[in-house]
Symmetry: D2
Subunit: 343 residues, 4 copies
Amino acid sequence: MCKYNFYDDYSEGAHPSILEALARTNLIQAEGYGEDRFCTEAKQMIRTHLDNSDADIHFISGGTQANLVVISSVLKPYESVIAAVTGHIAVHEAGAIEATGHKINTLETDTGKLTPDDIKPVIDMHCDEHMVSPRLVFISNSTETGSIYNRNELEQLSEFCRNHDLLLYLDGARLGPAMAAPCNDLSLPGLSELVDIFYIGGTKNGALLGEAIVINHEGLKKDFRFHLKQKGALLAKSRVMGIQFMELFRNNLFFELGAHSDSMALKMADAIEKSGYVFLTKPVSNQIFPVFPDKLIEKLSEKYGFHIWKKMDDNSSAVRLVTSWATTEKAVYEFICDLKRFA
Amino acid sequence: MCKYNFYDDYSEGAHPSILEALARTNLIQAEGYGEDRFCTEAKQMIRTHLDNSDADIHFISGGTQANLVVISSVLKPYESVIAAVTGHIAVHEAGAIEATGHKINTLETDTGKLTPDDIKPVIDMHCDEHMVSPRLVFISNSTETGSIYNRNELEQLSEFCRNHDLLLYLDGARLGPAMAAPCNDLSLPGLSELVDIFYIGGTKNGALLGEAIVINHEGLKKDFRFHLKQKGALLAKSRVMGIQFMELFRNNLFFELGAHSDSMALKMADAIEKSGYVFLTKPVSNQIFPVFPDKLIEKLSEKYGFHIWKKMDDNSSAVRLVTSWATTEKAVYEFICDLKRFA
Amino acid sequence: MCKYNFYDDYSEGAHPSILEALARTNLIQAEGYGEDRFCTEAKQMIRTHLDNSDADIHFISGGTQANLVVISSVLKPYESVIAAVTGHIAVHEAGAIEATGHKINTLETDTGKLTPDDIKPVIDMHCDEHMVSPRLVFISNSTETGSIYNRNELEQLSEFCRNHDLLLYLDGARLGPAMAAPCNDLSLPGLSELVDIFYIGGTKNGALLGEAIVINHEGLKKDFRFHLKQKGALLAKSRVMGIQFMELFRNNLFFELGAHSDSMALKMADAIEKSGYVFLTKPVSNQIFPVFPDKLIEKLSEKYGFHIWKKMDDNSSAVRLVTSWATTEKAVYEFICDLKRFA
Amino acid sequence: MCKYNFYDDYSEGAHPSILEALARTNLIQAEGYGEDRFCTEAKQMIRTHLDNSDADIHFISGGTQANLVVISSVLKPYESVIAAVTGHIAVHEAGAIEATGHKINTLETDTGKLTPDDIKPVIDMHCDEHMVSPRLVFISNSTETGSIYNRNELEQLSEFCRNHDLLLYLDGARLGPAMAAPCNDLSLPGLSELVDIFYIGGTKNGALLGEAIVINHEGLKKDFRFHLKQKGALLAKSRVMGIQFMELFRNNLFFELGAHSDSMALKMADAIEKSGYVFLTKPVSNQIFPVFPDKLIEKLSEKYGFHIWKKMDDNSSAVRLVTSWATTEKAVYEFICDLKRFA
């Protein structure tokens, strides 16, 4: 691949300090299946960052797996999930949620975010045993279209859910970039106390692989390890997870990597805007969606990898550019130069 | 943990050459979800070792996940799996197979291995639509009790399955030690052509994590990636799998690590036998099951970690000792000395 | 209930000739589980009406059960169903299809019917293993809003499905009224050869209970009884099904009962139209949806049972009136009189 | 079929008073889906017979369906059922329970009945999240081998379950014959208070079809109708169930029919014993298992239908003879004569 890749945030390996930690601890013997000293220590570090010593934490290999284990573990057979039509579980997980037996009630939204006003009609409509019973609200932060929830939005959603006996679950595959976004006003402890369960994404924020599921809701804690095991999600050599998350949360690496991703994307966004292009959605984190003439897209495609997101009109399309913890200033600088050169 | 651990073969990290490869390739950009150059190359290397250019290969994070994805992908809803009662899927996977909708028909065996004579009565009994329809035979090599299939046994089983329209699936969590066992007369290509589908265990043979599913049966190849995705088993940063399996199969590391494990266990077995103890099952690979007086077990437990497998009589029990790619000669030597000292 | 019920078409028992047949055959001993002489004979009668001696036929107790057994038996785990958002499986079966592991891709339609133009974008969009793979198209005839497919519409849909490797399944809960509708131009053999699988509704057309699943597609025939048994749908005393369907299809009772239902509804529709009211959807079968002033609805509700379907504006709503094989001329006449009286 | 059928207890239709009740009420309009006046009244009658005004009662079309709905509604995904290897769910329901995601832990028993001593080792063994968590004990009364629980046995089992946080579920497909058995010392209220949930079999005791699920355990009552609907078990024309169970429980018809079945079988058993034959299991209800010479079996088979249950030695086999509410004195008398004549 001679193109520089703005396809996604999982094109490179892990932050070097993670690889070093894996090498440093390599021959220390440890328990398996999440009961090793490294997992224990990593959980403690995350609890400190959450400012919540009661949170239950479990490590898991990927995001789709996190979503399907969490959702299938908290719902009764006849209960459903409410999600935005752009939510990752709605289309891009090959029916993983339905495969565990549960319907997803999808909602159209402009922003990728859900509000109480979006959700209210769904729960009003599902009123008897001829229909499923919506029980969990699925949101992502940042969303699949790069937007993030501000404190006020999440508070309103959380309050609405608690008043309507709905659980609130947040997919944090890109929580690092969301927390580090310049316009973000939510802290990690602040976010955590507003949701019942969420996961902190490692794969897309500098780990080799791995996500940390955080359970705040007391009723959901019991027996979660049975669900993990049954879905093939309890890794024998769990140390691999513990060691990585120790590095991410020992100090602030997790947030620094998110900040780097954002900063690279927003630098590009700034140049794109100054060049006179508009965006499908306001650029705020490490995924940006500029609208380019198709001819420009053609030229850029020869040097850069990215997805064409949506045909806008006969001559232009929105594209998705994603940056990661490993995106270089040099690549961003080149892209900006090429943008002007090709225009 | 100040005890030396003979609990299992996943107590340490990865073989150093694997960690080095991860570091060396860390910033090379690559595709995700199994379509990266590393996975492609690793698959090619494994195909060479299998002497089969047509095999479909997929990487997955762990053994329970491999078992549940494979089994649920090949069976129709009313079809069942036949397994030894000691088979990993029968008890030790928290109902992972049943959670995908399929019954396991279990069989008592002395050896942990299955024979045509074991299986015949099960398929004879299941004769109409009031019962499930057995369709896949699950075996492990090495088995959960340390035994291995010889060429003749596997040929007979394979022929029986083909004659009775049964698929044969081999769980190779410990395939490295099985292939490297001194008494083994099966080659990897030889084994491969006798089964429809199997997996090559990385986690328990020197990788950080990961198993390689090998599909030989043409009818099972189509759409396997849909099944992987739906079960949360398609890793975004799949490079982690590819890079590791490249190291294991670039030359013969996979077999060398298995041979080391076996050699450490058999050295202990030899000393144990010479000290006059018997074994629950004949020691042939990296899991051995000596019968010790309970008083000896008590003393050994202070310095070494291992499982008590089975109470034999009022004064003695069988224990399980497991060695790995990382077990040291020094630890083995010490154990042997202590065995004599504590006797 | 002193109100006369236009709620639905399952408010009364069975056509008297069915009850008589049950009594007449009561003490004749017969096999169970669908293998009795009555089921055999009923299947033969239905095959004659279908003009298809190769059709596989199975009797089942209700419509939701028919839908879930059929759909789960024909789909692989990652395959999905396409249905109108008004389709019975989409909302009104408590997630029964998802509970068998399959996603429903829903489409907005004005008519309750699906066309190739509706379906094309769905199959175009689902292009890789990150998404489900749409495989079966679910339609109802008559639909949940009372409309019916004409020959041309069903031919086009059928051809499209065959060209795109999609299976076509028709829910015939109200197939009797659909076939008997004055504007219908499809024969039962004609309809049957255009779909891969469908069911003929007994419950809503004069039986005590029961639906007849008809499988035309060769590939779907094998092992269907396993699926029935596994879902709890194989009745021990299957004679109850066979005896009823013998009466429905011995001659033309099935069609006569549908014709009666339609005629009662269309008589009401005619009077409603003459009184100057409009309809939400054109009345063609035994479900009609007139738009009435709310004040009129209030008065009618005192004497008649029916569902308020949809609020139209501040002062009027569409209601659903359903007639059945047992609806009396007297009740229809009274309703028409009251309509004028209350206006 | 010119042979007289002792195959099973579902060879004939319904008791005449049930057919008469269906005819008598045929044109009375009623609600659907279990909310009709007939179901309401039938539930009240059953509650009176149970001497328990708090029991939740639901009607369902068959036994396998009852078992799968009950079990899947009360278990969490990782929880399992304990059953005798002869239990109906273990082999003869085509994997219906596993299809809902749950493992069955089977136990060998001589009697078809379970005791605390049978169950204890199973729950002791299942100790962590690598295994399923046994949560429900499945028993049948009468059992699949014709035996019945006496008061003392059921009390001990019930107490054991309550002390070990296990739910106790009783499959009462043949509860009528069990309750009416001469050696039975359990009353229906007595049995009911010892189990958490059970069903009262109609299909095998004089109904056209139908079973009544009785839920005593408070925690299992909520939302059961959602489970019924989702599994396709909520019949639209539920009046069919209500009307039948009203007849069975208006007075004592349910018990009288069971008594007739038992009396016919025990009359045969008495003659068989007097003729010098032994039984596989002691005959106490409407299923008996005499051991006959194979030559006698051959001759009897020409006039009578029955299952050969088990080969006993080279010259003899156990057979199963089943009687029903409709078995005639004449048939029993003839069988007894033929037994002597053919001997």
